[in-house]
């Protein structure tokens, strides 16, 4: 009887906990900034290969002009990137179970159509642990002082 009661109580407890899963990966707060760094460097190297696995197929981004970008749009943007330097000035990660929110500020410098540019932008990215792999599912970038 006690066993039966315990099973019933555990079933309830499991159900209640089921809507707020906590990710057991204690390294996630180091892993995600590392993947953000890979993402940033892809713009400098113009190599989108690493982004293939970092960005979810349903990834969407809003750029600083308010334009929506799909994963394919971002990969294309990386290939034709004019960024020469990408410095992440600050970054913080907030975990919400299997979802991680990253906010930060970066500075990019480059040359476009022969004209040098430098922009400081604030970003927010959403990461989700999908089938055991962290992937970015959404992002937005906005110019500081816009």
């Amino acid at each position: 009887m006690r066993t039966l009661m315990l099973v019933a109580l555990l079933a309830c407890a499991g159900t209640l906990a089921g809507h707020a899963p906590q990710h057991s990966d204690s390294n996630v707060e180091a892993k995600i900034p590392a993947m953000e760094h890979v993402w940033a460097q892809a713009y400098v190297s113009k190599d989108p290969q690493a982004l293939e696995r970092i960005l979810d197929d349903e990834f969407v981004n809003v750029d600083s002009d308010g334009k929506m970008q799909t994963k394919a749009d971002v990969l294309a943007e990386v290939r034709r990137s004019s960024v020469l330097q990408f410095v992440t000035e600050s970054m913080s990660v907030h975990l919400h179970g299997n979802t991680a929110i990253v906010t930060g500020v970066f500075l990019i410098k480059g040359v476009e159509h022969g004209n040098p540019f430098a922009e400081r932008e604030r970003f927010v990215d959403t990461w989700f642990c999908k089938n055991g792999q962290w992937v970015s599912i959404a992002g937005l970038v906005t110019r500081i002082g816009q």
Partner: protein, 146 residues
């Protein structure tokens, strides 16, 4: 003893019914998230911080004009706003569900510019399902300039 067994069986049955109901409700994530987005706009127009408090996670980060705004700062701003000072007209939005997380991308118009002219914004929001229901964790927007 029979009564206790019966009580346990009822408890297990009730739990399974409750779980099924939650899953059915969770199955329509799209409608639930859209409703929350509209609740947000309506609560803000009424300057109803109590309602906003229920759907904003305590760790909410909001990004506008390149600035990072906390939940407390956002609610203070809503409280200080003049009634109807910046009515929001929601446009299209798309919800993507990832189980315990959902992202929303869409556009809206308001007259929040310094000149009072109507501006169009593209936003990205992420909602995470927690014990108390779906909570907004990051929200960010960029002006549509192109």
């Amino acid at each position: 003893m029979t009564t206790i067994k019966l009580l346990i069986l009822v408890l297990v049955w009730a739990t399974s019914v409750w779980v099924s109901a939650q899953e059915a409700a969770g199955g329509d994530v799209d409608a639930a998230i859209r409703a929350l987005e509209h609740q947000w706009v309506e609560a803000q127009s009424r300057r109803d911080n109590g309602a906003l408090n229920l759907i904003f996670d305590n760790a909410l980060v909001y990004i506008e004009y390149g600035k990072l705004v906390s939940k407390g700062d956002y609610l203070s701003k809503v409280k200080a706003a003049k009634p109807g000072s910046s009515p929001i007209t929601m446009e299209a939005m798309t919800v993507r569900s990832f189980g315990e997380a959902a992202t929303v991308i869409g556009t809206y118009r308001d007259n929040s510019t310094k000149s009072g002219k109507s501006a169009r914004w593209r936003f990205v929001d992420t909602w995470v399902r927690k014990t108390g229901g779906w909570m907004l964790v990051p929200a960010a927007e960029a002006p549509v300039t192109k």
